[in-house]
C-alpha cells in the first residue's frame, strides 16, 4: 500500500511538471512582443487605475480631495471597448514607507494598469522603482519635487508643476512684489519641504535679498515656539515654510506668540487648503501660499465643479489646490489606456510597455487644469505658480486683493 502511494505521488508530480509544458492559450502578437507583457481582462472584469494618497492623518485633505476629483474622472471616462474603469485609491499616509507598501500592493494586482499618483513627493520617490520593475506607468497630479524627473525613470510622469518653477517663482514674488528684504526659512526635512526651501533660499539670495535663518523642524509635533522664538531674534520680514498643512497651520498660529506677529507667513502648495483656514482662524489672516498654475475657466471645468459640489458637498478646490489635477491625471490615463487597449477573442488586452510609451508621448492633452504635453523626462507641465492669500477666512488670488 505504501509503495502504491509513493507511485501515485511521483506520478502526480510528473503530471504537474508536464502540465507546465503544455502549450498556453496563444497570446496576441502585441503581447508576446511587449517586454512587460499584457494586462488581460475577461468579460465583466474592471480595468483599474491605482492612486496612492494620504487619506488619513494631518494631511488627509490632499488625498481625499484628489481621489474625489479622480473618481469623477473615472465616471466620466465611460468604458474601454465594453470594459469598465475603476479607481483604486489606497492610503499611503504621504510617507515613503506607505508609498512603497501601496506600490507593492498595486504591482501584485494584475488589474492595475496605471497609477494616477502618488500624491506626496516622498511617497512617490519610494514608489517609482517598484512600478518601474513591474511596468506600470504613473501620472502624478501633485508630486512637485524636482528630483523625481531626473532619475531617468521610464514610468514616472507628472502633470504637477515642478518645484523648479514653484520655488524661484515664490522667491521672486517675495522679493519683488512683497518687497521682503530679510527672509527666514523653515522646512520639515522631507524630500519636498527641504527641497523647496533650498530652492527658494538660493533664488532669494540671487535676487539680492538676505536669507537670515534656515531651520528644520521635526514634523508631527505641536509645539514649535522654541524654534520660532529663535527665528524671531533674526527679525525677518517674512517666514517661508516648506512643508505641509499639518505643521504649517501650527507655525502660522505660533508665529503670533513668538515675536513673529509682523512677519508674513509664506507657504507652498502643501499648506494651501480648507484645513489651514479652520486650524488657524484669525491667526491665518494674511498668510500666503503658492499653488498650481491658474486653470483657465471652461465649460468643462464648470461642469466638473458642479458635479464635485453635488457629489461631495464642498466647493472644488477648497480642500487642496489639486482637485482638477486629480481629475486630469485619471482622465488622461483613461484616454491613453483606450488608445492602446484592444480586444481579441472576447478578452481585453492592454500591452504594458506600449502603455508606458503612450503616457510619455501624451501630447496636447486638454484637461481642466491646463494643456499637457509630456517631455522626454516625464515633465508634462511648465506653468508658473499663482499666489493666494488668506482674506477674511478664505483663500483669494493675491493679485486681486
Amino acid at each position: 500500500m505504501k509503495k502504491f502511494m509513493k507511485v501515485v505521488f511521483v506520478l502526480s508530480i510528473a503530471a504537474f511538471l508536464f502540465a507546465g509544458c503544455a502549450p498556453k492559450a496563444t497570446l496576441p502578437a502585441a503581447c508576446t512582443s511587449d517586454a512587460a507583457g499584457c494586462a488581460v481582462f475577461t468579460s465583466g472584469q474592471t480595468v483599474k487605475i491605482g492612486m496612492g494618497a494620504p487619506m488619513t492623518g494631518g494631511n488627509a485633505s490632499y488625498g481625499i480631495d484628489i481621489s474625489q476629483g479622480a473618481t469623477i474622472a473615472i465616471a466620466d471616462a465611460g468604458d474601454v471597448k465594453g470594459w469598465k474603469f475603476a479607481l483604486d485609491a489606497e492610503d499611503d499616509q504621504g510617507a515613503a514607507e506607505g508609498g512603497a507598501a501601496v506600490a507593492n500592493k498595486f504591482v501584485s494586482d494584475p488589474a492595475i494598469v496605471a497609477v494616477a499618483g502618488h500624491i506626496f513627493s516622498g511617497a512617490t520617490a519610494a514608489a517609482v522603482p517598484i512600478y518601474e520593475k513591474a511596468g506600470i506607468p504613473m501620472l502624478s497630479p501633485s508630486a512637485t519635487n524636482p528630483v523625481l524627473t531626473t532619475t531617468g525613470s521610464k514610468v514616472f510622469n507628472r502633470i504637477a508643476f515642478s518645484d523648479l518653477m514653484q520655488g524661484p517663482g515664490a522667491a521672486d514674488y517675495l522679493y519683488t512684489t512683497l518687497k521682503v528684504k530679510n527672509l527666514a526659512l523653515l522646512h520639515d526635512g522631507t524630500d519636498y519641504g527641504k527641497g523647496l526651501a533650498d530652492i527658494v533660499s538660493k533664488q532669494f539670495a540671487k535676487d539680492g535679498g538676505t536669507v537670515v535663518d534656515e531651520e528644520a523642524i521635526t514634523p508631527g509635533e505641536t509645539d514649535y515656539t522654541a524654534v520660532l522664538s529663535s527665528v524671531a531674534s533674526k527679525s525677518p520680514d517674512a517666514l517661508y515654510f516648506g512643508g505641509y498643512t499639518a505643521e504649517g497651520a501650527i507655525i502660522a498660529n505660533e508665529m503670533k506668540q513668538t515675536g513673529l506677529e509682523k512677519a508674513i507667513f509664506f507657504g507652498d502648495d502643501g499648506t494651501y487648503g480648507a484645513d489651514f483656514l479652520t486650524r488657524t482662524g484669525s491667526n491665518g489672516e494674511g498668510a500666503y501660499a503658492s499653488i498650481a498654475p491658474v486653470s483657465p475657466d471652461s465649460p468643462a471645468k464648470d461642469k466638473f465643479n458642479a458635479a464635485y459640489k453635488a457629489q461631495f458637498g464642498k466647493e472644488a478646490g477648497s480642500l487642496s489646490p489639486y482637485t482638477w489635477a486629480g481629475y486630469d491625471s485619471a482622465a488622461a490615463l483613461a484616454s491613453v489606456i483606450k488608445s492602446v487597449a484592444f480586444v481579441d477573442g472576447g478578452k481585453l488586452y492592454i500591452p504594458r510597455t506600449a502603455l508606458i510609451t503612450a503616457v510619455r508621448n501624451l501630447k496636447g492633452y486638454v484637461g481642466l487644469s491646463g494643456t499637457f504635453t509630456c517631455q522626454s523626462n516625464g515633465e508634462c507641465n511648465t506653468g508658473s505658480p499663482q499666489f493666494v492669500i488668506v482674506k477674511s477666512g478664505a483663500w483669494v488670488p493675491a493679485d486681486k486683493q
Binding site: T56, G57, G58, D223, S233
Partner: protein, 384 residues
C-alpha cells in the same frame, strides 16, 4: 502620518535596553575598563557642551533677553506637562517596579475626554442669543467639567489597565509586564484610531483661554507674549504636583502606598489591602495623566490617537533623569527636560531639530556620573 517607523524603532529600543543582558564573566572583565572610559567620554562631551555654551553665551550672544524669555516660557510650559506625566511613571514604578509603558496613551485618552466635553458644550446653546453657547457663557464651569471628565476617563483607563494587563502578571519576571504594557500601548492607540478616526482634531477652547493670546511684556522693544493657556497649564500642574505630594506624604492612602512600595508581604500582614492600594495608585497616576492630556490639548490645540506617545517617552526620560521612584525627582526631571529642550539648542547654537538628541545626551551624562538619577532613587525607606 510620518511616525510609524519612529514609533516601532522607539519601542524596539526600549525592549532592547530592558532585555540587554551582558554575560557575567564579560561584565567582570569589562567593568574595570568601563569604569575608566565612561567618565572619560562623559567628561569630554561635558567639556564640549560647556565650551559651546561659552562660545554662544559670551562670545557670540546672538539672542537678546526677549528671545531668552520666550524660550524659557516655552520650556516651563513643556516642563509642567512632562512633570505631570513623569509623576505617573514614578508612582507606578515606586510600587510595582515596572514601567507603565501605556502611560502616554492614558494621557491621550484624557485629552480626548476633554476634547469631547468642549465640543459638546460648544454645541449646547444657552440663553436667547443664537451665538451664545455654554462653553463661552460659563467658561469656568466648562473648563472644570472638561478636566473632571478627562481625568475620570484617564483614571478609569489606568484602573482597568492594571486590572486586565498587569495584575495577572504581577508574579511574572519583570520583563513580562513590560511587554504587556507595550502591547496595551499599541492597543489603546489603535482602538482610538478606529473609534475616532485618525484625523487631527482641533481643541475648541473657551474664548478666555484663546490660544495665542496672553499678557504682553515689552522686553528689548519687543513684545513677549505670555500665553494664557501656558500660564494656566503651568499653575495647574504646580497645584496638582503639590496635591499629589501631600496625598503620598500625609494621607492614609499615601501611607499604604509607601508601605506597599517597601514590602508587599509585610504590608499585607499589617492589614494593608495591597490590591486596592495598587489600583488606587493607578487611578491617581491616570488622573494626573488625564489632566496633563487636557492641558496639552488646551495649550497645543491639536490631538490625535498618537498624541500621547512622544510626551510619554519624554516623561519617562524625565522620570529616569530625576531618579525613577522619587516624586520630587520626577518633577525636577520634567522641568529640567522641558527647559533643556527649548533653551538648550539656542544656548548651544545647534539646529532645533536636534533638541531630542540634546535631551538624551544630557540623560546619558547624568546616568554616567549619577546612575541613580539627579535626586537618586531613594532608599526603600524614603521611596515615594
Amino acid at each position: 502620518m510620518h511616525h510609524s517607523p519612529t514609533k516601532s524603532i522607539a519601542r524596539k529600543a526600549v525592549i532592547a535596553i530592558m532585555t540587554a543582558d551582558i554575560p557575567h564573566d564579560l561584565k567582570k572583565k569589562g567593568n574595570q575598563l568601563l569604569k575608566l572610559i565612561r567618565p572619560l567620554l562623559g567628561g569630554i562631551v561635558g567639556l564640549f557642551l560647556i565650551y559651546r555654551l561659552y562660545v554662544i553665551l559670551i562670545v557670540e550672544h546672538p539672542y537678546g533677553p526677549d528671545t531668552w524669555t520666550r524660550l524659557l516660557i516655552a520650556g516651563l510650559i513643556l516642563g509642567g506637562v512632562y512633570s505631570l506625566i513623569a509623576i505617573g511613571y514614578t508612582l507606578v514604578y515606586g510600587i510595582l517596579f515596572m514601567i507603565n509603558f501605556a502611560h502616554g496613551d492614558v494621557m491621550m485618552l484624557g485629552a480626548f475626554g476633554g476634547y469631547f466635553v468642549f465640543e459638546a458644550l460648544n454645541a449646547l446653546k444657552v440663553g436667547i442669543d443664537a451665538k451664545s453657547n455654554f462653553l463661552n457663557v460659563y467658561p469656568y464651569y466648562s473648563i472644570i467639567i472638561a478636566f473632571i471628565v478627562g481625568m475620570t476617563v484617564a483614571a478609569l483607563t489606568g484602573y482597568f489597565l492594571e486590572k486586565i494587563a498587569y495584575r495577572p502578571l504581577r508574579k511574572a519576571p519583570r520583563l513580562v509586564p513590560l511587554i504587556s504594557a507595550i502591547g496595551a500601548s499599541i492597543f489603546l492607540e489603535n482602538a482610538v484610531e478606529l473609534l475616532f478616526s485618525p484625523q487631527l482634531r482641533n481643541y475648541t477652547n473657551p474664548d478666555i483661554l484663546h490660544r495665542g493670546s496672553g499678557w504682553t511684556i515689552v522686553i528689548n522693544h519687543s513684545n513677549v507674549i505670555v500665553p494664557y493657556t501656558g500660564v494656566f497649564s503651568f499653575l495647574l500642574s504646580a497645584i496638582l504636583l503639590v496635591i499629589v505630594y501631600t496625598i503620598v506624604r500625609k494621607t492614609r492612602l499615601g501611607r499604604a502606598m509607601r508601605a506597599v512600595a517597601l514590602d508587599k508581604k509585610t504590608a499585607a500582614l499589617m492589614g494593608v489591602d495591597v490590591d486596592s492600594t495598587i489600583s488606587q495608585t493607578f487611578i491617581l497616576s491616570g488622573a494626573l495623566a488625564g489632566a496633563a492630556g487636557v492641558m496639552f490639548g488646551i495649550h497645543n490645540g491639536l490631538i490625535y490617537y498618537y498624541t500621547g506617545f512622544i510626551p510619554g517617552i519624554k516623561a519617562f526620560t524625565a522620570a529616569v533623569l530625576g531618579g525613577i521612584g522619587n516624586l520630587p525627582g520626577a518633577m525636577l526631571g520634567g522641568m529640567f527636560l522641558g527647559i533643556v529642550e527649548s533653551v538648550g539648542p539656542a544656548a548651544l547654537g545647534i539646529d532645533f531639530q536636534l533638541k531630542d538628541v540634546l535631551a538624551f545626551v544630557i540623560l546619558i551624562l547624568v546616568l554616567i556620573f549619577k546612575p541613580s538619577g539627579l535626586l537618586g532613587e531613594s532608599l526603600a525607606e524614603e521611596k515615594l
